[in-house]
């Protein structure tokens, strides 16, 4: 059981990263972005592309860092992954969502269109990389044996460290900087933000930059933890939804706690249930939340 809790925290950290981005775009862009998971996938594959081509023959970039299974090259690849996912998110907004906003389209149109975007992005990934599984690295991964029978890979400690560092950075960005506060204000009350002179379009662009960056990092981390496949991000969307609802839509703290609780619930459930039921557990949590505490843990009743 202690082992499952630790695995839950690892999975939860990755879910939390995704959920923070997800909750921001839900409030600021004003719709449920079904292509969020596929932005993760894009980030993961861009890291694979850069690390596997540009860096593949550079010895010092590929030699493993300490007990980790990957080298400096993959660390550097976080950067292009972030840039491409964020850039893609902003471009999709320009080409697709902004014209919809100009028409004053209802949010259901945005939801449906983002679903379409998700399929298109995934389609492109299938075309380029195929349906096969890919790995950032080959060979055996080292394992640490900790007290209480916890077996942990050094990679997983790295994943947690990066996830939490990024959560901290996002927190500081949203809490301390002018743009961060304006993003929260826009998420809170877009009409009032406009009235206060905060340009909505600018904030929407910032939103996609942050969302794309967070998605890219969680994608690469998820790729390190498991493997890369075209539907990795899409399947990740289910726990994201559940974590979003559980933690209250729009609340950053809620996204964090929701992600952790969900990661743990999913992992602990494997003590009794087959791992294939994990997505079902996510939905069960979401449905129970919606029935018994629809405003989520951190929500206000209106």
């Amino acid at each position: 059981m202690p082992e499952l809790i630790v695995y839950g925290i690892i999975l939860g950290s990755i879910i939390a990263l995704g959920t923070i981005g997800f909750t921001l775009s839900t409030k600021i862009a004003g719709f449920c972005n079904y292509s969020h998971g596929d932005l993760m996938t894009v980030g993961a594959y861009i890291a694979l592309l850069v690390n596997g081509t540009l860096f593949s023959n550079v010895g010092f970039l590929q030699s493993k860092i300490g007990p980790l299974s990957f080298g400096l090259g993959l660390l550097i690849c976080f950067l292009p992954a972030i840039l491409v996912s964020a850039g893609l998110a902003i471009l999709i907004d320009r080409w697709v969502y902004r014209p919809l906003r100009r028409h004053g389209a209802p949010s259901i149109h945005f939801d449906m269109v983002s679903l379409g975007v998700a399929f298109i992005v995934r389609g492109v990934i299938y075309v380029i990389w195929g349906a096969d599984y890919h790995f950032y690295f080959k060979g055996v991964r080292s394992m640490l044996f900790l007290p209480l029978g916890i077996k942990l890979r050094p990679d997983e400690i790295f994943i947690m460290a990066v996830a939490w560092a990024l959560v901290a950075v996002t927190y500081l960005f949203l809490g301390r900087t002018r743009v961060g506060k304006a993003l929260r204000a826009t998420a809170d009350n877009p009409d009032l933000a406009r009235v206060a002179g905060i340009g909505t379009e600018r904030m929407i662009t910032w939103n996609w930059a942050v969302v794309g960056a967070l998605a890219a990092v969680s994608g690469v981390l998820y790729g390190i933890e498991t493997q890369l496949r075209p539907e990795m991000g899409w399947l990740f969307l289910l726990p994201l939804f559940a974590a979003l609802v559980l933690g209250s839509i729009g609340s950053i703290t809620g996204a964090l706690v929701g992600g952790l609780v969900l990661g743990m619930t999913q992992q602990i459930s494997t003590a009794w249930l087959k791992p294939t039921y994990k997505p079902a557990i996510a939905f069960l949590v979401m449905i129970l939340t919606l029935i018994f505490k629809p405003e989520g843990i951190f929500g206000r009743r209106r």
Partner: protein
């Protein structure tokens, strides 16, 4: 000079016309009220002036410059501020952050202004780091006004500043609005609490069914029997 002039404005939502050709004027330095029953189109009027809605027809001028249909983010830069009736604060931000958002477009140091706002509303000073969503109704209204004042606006548009407040707070808020006017801020407000609004106003308009029913000196309106019977509940 008229700081605000509205000429034959037609406006509404979707295909529903709410304002049917409305004209009005606010002289610089004055308090002007728009009174009238629920559903008269008062909020629609403010939203149209402030560019949240586009006028279908007609013109809006700020300091004799045509601002019809300009977006709010442009108008705040010109010296106008608007306080909506509901949802006029950012509930998940702190009090201080709400005020900072009021100064979002300021490139210079806004901190002196922040302190001035705290002096104007001392109750807010002790709650700087409190969540704005936890404030009482009266404090929320003060915060909303404080936010709008961060940019030293020349013209303040207020939507029903006294709604939902306890009677003693209604007086406090209206007094504060009068103070602001004494400091040189021109004020255009819509109010359901017509009697109180007229008491601090120079001029007033009566709006009903999207049309202007009366206009004139606020003091004279207070004394007018017919207006008293119809709109002041006497």
């Amino acid at each position: 000079m008229a700081i605000l002039r509205v000429e034959n404005v037609v406006s509404g939502y979707g295909s529903m016309e709410v304002l049917h050709g409305l004209s009005l004027e606010v002289e610089e330095g004055q308090v002007v009220s728009m009174i009238g029953p629920n559903g008269a189109g008062k909020t629609t009027l403010l939203r149209t002036i402030f560019g949240v809605l586009r006028p279908w027809k007609g013109k809006v001028y700020f300091k004799e410059e045509d601002i019809s249909g300009l977006p709010p983010e442009r108008l705040v830069r010109m010296g106008m501020a608007y306080i909506p009736q509901e949802y006029n604060i950012f509930p998940s931000l702190t009090v201080q952050e709400n005020l900072e958002m009021g100064a979002f477009i300021r490139e210079d140091d806004y901190r002196p202004r922040l302190e001035e706002i705290y002096e104007l509303f001392p109750d807010l000073t002790d709650r700087r780091q409190s969540g704005a969503g936890d404030l009482s109704g009266g404090m929320r209204q003060m915060l909303a006004i404080g936010r709008a004042l961060m940019l030293n606006p020349e013209l303040l548009l207020l939507d029903e500043p006294s709604t939902g407040l306890a009677p003693f707070l209604v007086d406090a808020i209206l007094d504060r609005i009068k103070d602001l006017n004494d400091q040189g801020v021109s004020i255009f407000m819509v109010e359901q609490n017509a009697y109180k609004a007229l008491q601090i106003s120079n001029r007033a308009y009566v709006l009903e069914g999207g049309e202007k029913r009366a206009e004139g000196n606020a003091q004279e309106m207070l004394e007018d029997e017919e207006i008293g019977k119809l709109y002041l509940g006497r």
